[in-house]
Subunit: 347 residues, 2 copies
């Protein structure tokens, strides 16, 4: 079919098989984080990797009580006047290619300042790996589709494993991750529901994508997949930010995708679902809870519930499948979006 669909399907298996290697690579970094008493984390990334960075922020803040900033790389490149880093800061670059000069520059500068540096990268030999003290290699081989899928979920898994290695309960955390990978496998069965939703939304030109907490990463990534593969005017918001203005755009027939796993954020999303439904929006709900699914004419029911903090691994799958099916329905090639290359060089 398409590389994108192949790579979506590969995800649970490749993550499962690569995890032992990832754990080995993470151990010395986690040890160094503890030794140095790291309290601040700074993450630089672009595109899908930046959505993995959003996940990384939630994970390290909520589970490890660290303060996490996401870089504005232009400070380092265009303005050439960036934060002064210290040795109690960990700076992480995330990039599929490891080639983007902006992300490389953030990590290079941080290392020169004496910060602890690391990267999550897929391409074996890259400029980013060369400047980073600790290199967490995804080792997925080449991702063939321009629309990233397995590099995104693998980066999320790597961040989850790092958070787990830094937590006080490594065993329980790793169990959560294992459960999520198993649930990813069963989420592949959502392909039919995603194809059905894509059929119902065949003429969709724009949409809103909403989530809260950890799945903010899922909302951002779902919107990007829809833009890249279907050229849809998709925009993602945190459910709370959405109420501070953007909710005004809700009107009859506006498609709204809601990612809402059970857990700490569910009630807030259920409430928001009611709110946008009142405004006449067309809901596409992706959830494991029937209360929200019942509001939607286009429900995508996630069969296995997993702890909220690892749920972005699972919820990424229906997001990717929906975008891919919609693109194929429209006769578009999701592997080769117009105007994009696999490696984007920005400063």
């Amino acid at each position: 079919m398409t590389y994108m669909l192949d790579e979506i399907y590969e995800q649970p298996e490749v993550i499962n098989s690569l995890m032992p290697q990832w754990l080995e690579d993470i151990a010395p970094l986690a040890e160094e984080v503890r030794c140095r008493d790291i309290r601040f984390v700074y993450v630089a990334a672009r595109g899908s990797s930046d959505h993995a960075a959003v996940y990384c922020k939630y994970a390290l803040e909520i589970r490890n009580k660290l303060s996490v900033a996401l870089a504005n790389p232009s400070a380092f490149t265009l303005y050439d006047s960036a934060p002064r880093f210290t040795s109690d800061t960990l700076v992480i670059g995330i990039s599929q290619s490891g080639a983007g000069p902006d992300v490389v520059e953030v990590v290079r500068k941080a290392r020169a300042d004496g910060a602890l540096t690391a990267c999550i990268v897929n391409t074996p030999h890259s400029a980013l790996a060369a400047v980073s003290e600790f290199v967490l290699r995804l080792g997925l081989g080449r991702e063939k589709s321009v629309a990233a899928t397995k590099t995104y979920t693998s980066s999320i898994a790597m961040a989850a494993l790092l958070s787990s290695a830094l937590s006080s309960d490594v065993i329980a955390s790793q169990k959560d991750i294992a459960a999520a990978i198993q649930a990813m496998e069963s989420a592949l069965n959502l392909d039919k529901a995603a194809a059905e939703a894509a059929k119902q939304m065949a003429d969709m030109k724009e949409c809103i994508v909403l989530a809260r907490g950890f799945n903010q990463a899922t909302a951002l990534e779902a919107a990007l997949k829809l833009i890249e593969t279907c050229y849809i005017g998709a925009r993602a918001y945190s459910g709370a930010d959405f109420r501070h203005g953007p909710v005004a755009q809700v009107e009859a027939g506006l498609p709204c995708l809601l990612f809402a796993p059970s857990g700490s954020t569910f009630n807030s999303m259920l409430d928001l679902g009611g709110r946008v439904l009142e405004g006449g929006a067309k809901l596409i709900c992706i959830s494991d809870d029937t209360r929200l699914l019942g509001l939607s004419e286009t429900p995508i029911r996630v069969a296995q519930s997993v702890p909220d903090w690892v749920s972005p691994l699972v919820y990424a799958v229906p997001a990717q499948l929906f975008a891919c099916r919609l693109a194929l329905n429209r006769g578009l090639d999701p592997d080769a979006p117009r105007g994009l290359n696999k490696v984007t060089m920005t400063v």
Copy 2:
């Protein structure tokens, strides 16, 4: 006419007249930041205030070499498991009303942890002011339009003054800010050009808003104003992030607003202007440089050039005027967007 238009026009004068009071309030906070050797800053906000927070991040990182994180408040509220703050961290809440429980909770928790806390707030007595050690009051009186204008630019000015007070060259910095306020005054003359652009874009349903660096705040705020007052599907991107995927949505006739003052980011924006023009986009360029303005059939020429770091004060004005004029053309009431209240309570 409308409160929104009145309040847009008030901005240079009220900022000018309130600045001496703001400077007085900032001095003891700046003193404390120096005494405590603050190295990390954490900012919590929603909506337009969150765009002021984006500005604050650029200013404190680029000009003061601090590391700045923007809060995900759900960590503090829904997950009840937030970063552990220390005494070398400054946590700032920004809120027009000072009432939002989520922003209040971030600052309350930070203060309990022993961090230095401050807030930028307009309403004189508020929950946010009550939990903050240092209170920077805007003192603007009630903002009558639901669509924020003067509270946004005043929050930007307050952040610029804080950055200035922490810099090694206070006098030059304050001169820059004074020049920007003067340029805001002359930017009010862009009302005609904004009205003309609004006429040309009368049937605009969606648009892309692009900027880089400090004016990332302007792009986000411009998109929000267009959503709130005209219900347009506006989405803002950093010019660099845009190239990592979202650029695929560019097609013939798609309106793209570019905010591109001369300075460090200009060449990057000029290049991007050419790129989206190739894709057939309809450019609305807001700039003081004729090279970019020449690409656009709908140029909005900013007459006075100011240093890049204070330009968001100036560029906010044409953004607000364009949204307001477009709303009025459409017979919409920009003071009372559907589904919004002046105070939004989120957790």
